[in-house]
Subunit: 175 residues, 2 copies
Amino acid sequence: MAASPVAPASFETGAARPPQDEVSRVPHRGAKADFRWEGVEMRPYKEDERALYKTITRQVLFSDPDMAGELRYFEVAPGGFSALERHQHMHAVLILRGRGHCLVGDEVKRLETRDLVTVPPMTWHQFRATADEPLGFLCMVDAQRDRPQLPTAEDVARLEQDPQIAGFLSGKPRA
Amino acid sequence: MAASPVAPASFETGAARPPQDEVSRVPHRGAKADFRWEGVEMRPYKEDERALYKTITRQVLFSDPDMAGELRYFEVAPGGFSALERHQHMHAVLILRGRGHCLVGDEVKRLETRDLVTVPPMTWHQFRATADEPLGFLCMVDAQRDRPQLPTAEDVARLEQDPQIAGFLSGKPRA
């Protein structure tokens, strides 16, 4: 496989268990303003030095040793994007806030609030917010999952052979 | 355990695999009006003859042989409620639409849009919509899970010893 030879710097990976696990069985956690939640830590905006992702936050809403899945909320700031990556585990995404575009495999799709996105195993994918509002989405994954792979320069060059994908990757998506 | 001796008639159970599994890897499924989705079948409103649940619909948003979790959308009509039940598997719930109340164990909680509810293993739970609008919620579960247990008359009598729970169960929740 044409996986990146270096350890992936995906935004998604990090501590195996987020800090809020201790309270994950609190029966009720209220929603707060601006898509925050009681008892849920927000991993702050951070720019990747290699520009693999831009201005995206993560909140782990559900993660429990007795659940096989996890549910996270990611929010991409206006003009931001998630990492272009692939992995064996799947992503099941529901857009909770705003609009944007996604790349899944060789398809670029326009996203509206509440749309559903399925990322099959080992499929390149990326999410991009529109310029004027945040793009927030729920993402269900297996609790046990592999680490993301980042594209090599060759992978990116191959993807960019498709003009629509090239436009998406350069921040000018059309779908 | 004081489980119901009869096979549970939970709304939740049914076909092991919903019909939309064939298309579950469609990368993008658009949101439609009124909390419906392209390519997602809605199990219609149905009243249980024993009044175990009332006017609730189910849509399976994500279910895939390669995912350990499933994500479903339930919608309770105004004044309706889900089954009072318990089971070994957990529920991870995010309120997507409207308001209402829930019972989780011995706690009655008021629910607002985007609130989070965690139902631990073998914990009695029920969701109720307000009288004036639907209550819609996402529910993540393990794909492999046990069947719900319904309460016996003794279970209900024990729950009703708590005035707040009795009010909730009779459709007059206070939280």
